[in-house]
């Protein structure tokens, strides 16, 4: 699992960490039942405040991707993987549909970005 934190980026540090843990789960690098690094350890690794990591973990817990337990740290949950599987299949469907309609990938990106 690769974690990059850029203080100059627009997203907050906690958002950046949460996004990358999400990606790691989506890519299958973190599997169900696996432990995330302790907040203290990850904070030291990327030189941020421990509460920033805890904020990121809390957000992931709200999304049902991980479970936080006092003394046991953060564990990856199945439900998170399941929803990611769903997202992945939706993305696959999206690309198939775009291909069928002859929409280039770049245009699809623009459509996704402009969708909200």
């Amino acid at each position: 699992m690769l974690i990059t934190v850029d203080p100059a980026a627009r997203a907050s540090l906690a958002e950046q960490i949460a996004a990358q843990v999400r990606t790691a789960i989506a890519r299958g690098e973190l599997r169900e039942g696996e432990k995330l690094p302790s907040a203290r350890d990850l904070a030291a690794a990327v030189d941020v405040n421990m509460h920033t990591v805890l904020r990121a973990y809390a957000r992931l817990q709200e999304d049902g991707l991980i479970e936080l337990r006092r003394g046991r740290g953060a564990t990856v949950l199945r439900s998170g993987n399941a929803s990611f599987d769903q997202l992945r299949s939706l993305v696959g469907e999206l690309r198939d549909q775009a291909e069928a309609l002859g929409v280039p990938l770049d245009d699809l990106f623009t459509m996704i970005k402009g969708a909200r």
Binding site: L2, T4, V5, D6, A8, P37, V46
Partner: protein, 319 residues
């Protein structure tokens, strides 16, 4: 991996020790076997006096089987693409075969007398035989092994001021199985002997050693590999024991290579001429060269990404 073809001399050096051991065993069996009584002295106390007797042939069978296996392995070696791992396997079989063969010949020789004694010093003859039988093929194979290509990786592109960390897992189910097995055997051995009537200290110690080795193997069964601004760390996943630590300012360069266990001295936590290694499988491993000239290796999935991350950290340090 490029392996040079084996010359006739190399092939002889690999097969000769096992062939000589097998021949010596057969000659000894033919020359001394017919005169041996049905029960021979097989166990001796520290003073060299016999205190255990049995048939000579089960030990002979074990020695013969091991010598045949050693010869078979030596003959099969040219088929191994990886000479270093082959050398490890040959080393183990040669050592086992030489210990068993020399033991049987010693027993056969001392049992020619009606009251056999075996001074401890005589058993030392096993050592040079084992060393020669093990070292000759090892060195011969090692010399034909091709160089191991180390792959450099372009450092990860990271925006200036950004911080990067990488984390991976490594481990082996075999270590876990072996660790549990050794621990259980050790506990059972210690308890059974402790309960038994003639409790001897040595069996309890042997059990204790087995438990210790088992637990050590268990510690190695699952590890976490971390690359961040502090450097490289390998930590046992369950116990949190630090297994390897290289601070970033001690790292000179990094890369990855396609590891085969023989290159770094085998499986587990290894010390060899190339450096210190955690080896749980064949395949990609992260290699770090230290400022002091040493090297560290850890076999881990995503070793290339780990090397790229470490490269980016080294670049940031230099800047």
């Amino acid at each position: 991996m490029t392996t040079r073809p084996m010359s006739r001399a190399t092939r002889t050096a690999v097969t000769a020790p096992a062939a000589v051991l097998l021949l010596a065993l057969l000659v000894a069996a033919v020359a001394l076997g017919p005169e041996l009584p049905a029960r021979i002295a097989q166990h001796f106390d520290a003073a060299g006096t016999a205190n255990g007797w049995g048939s000579p042939w089960p030990v002979f069978g074990g020695a013969l089987a091991t010598a045949v296996v050693a010869l078979g392995v030596a003959l099969a070696v040219p088929r191994f693409p990886d000479r270093r791992t082959a050398a490890m396997v040959v080393l183990v079989t040669e050592l086992l075969a030489s210990v068993l063969v020399v033991t049987w010949i010693l027993l056969a020789v001392v049992n020619r007398s009606a009251e056999p004694t075996l001074p401890v010093a005589a058993t030392l003859v096993i050592v040079p035989v084992a060393v020669v039988a093990g070292a000759v093929p090892l060195v011969a194979l090692w010399r034909t092994a091709g160089p191991v290509p180390r792959r450099a990786v372009a450092p990860l592109a990271v925006p200036p001021g950004a911080r990067v960390a990488w984390r991976g897992r490594a481990g082996s189910r075999w270590f876990a199985v072996l660790g549990v097995l050794l621990t259980v055997i050790g506990v059972v051995a210690a308890v059974m002997v402790g309960v038994g009537a003639d409790a001897t200290g040595t069996a309890v110690v042997t059990g204790g050693v087995s438990v210790f080795v088992g637990l050590t193997v268990l510690v190695l069964a699952r590890v976490e590999v971390t690359v961040d601004r502090r450097g490289l760390r390998v930590t046992s996943a369950v116990t949190r024991l630090p297994l390897m630590r290289v601070p970033l300012d001690q790292v000179r360069s990094c890369g990855w290579e396609d590891v085969s266990p023989g290159q770094w001295g085998g499986w587990g936590y290894r010390f060899s001429g190339r450096g210190v290694a955690y080896v749980s499988r064949s395949g990609p491993g992260l290699v770090v060269e230290t400022v002091g000239g040493g090297a560290r290796l850890v076999t881990v999935d995503g070793a290339a990404e780990a090397a790229a991350t470490l490269g980016a950290l080294l670049e940031a340090r230099a800047a």
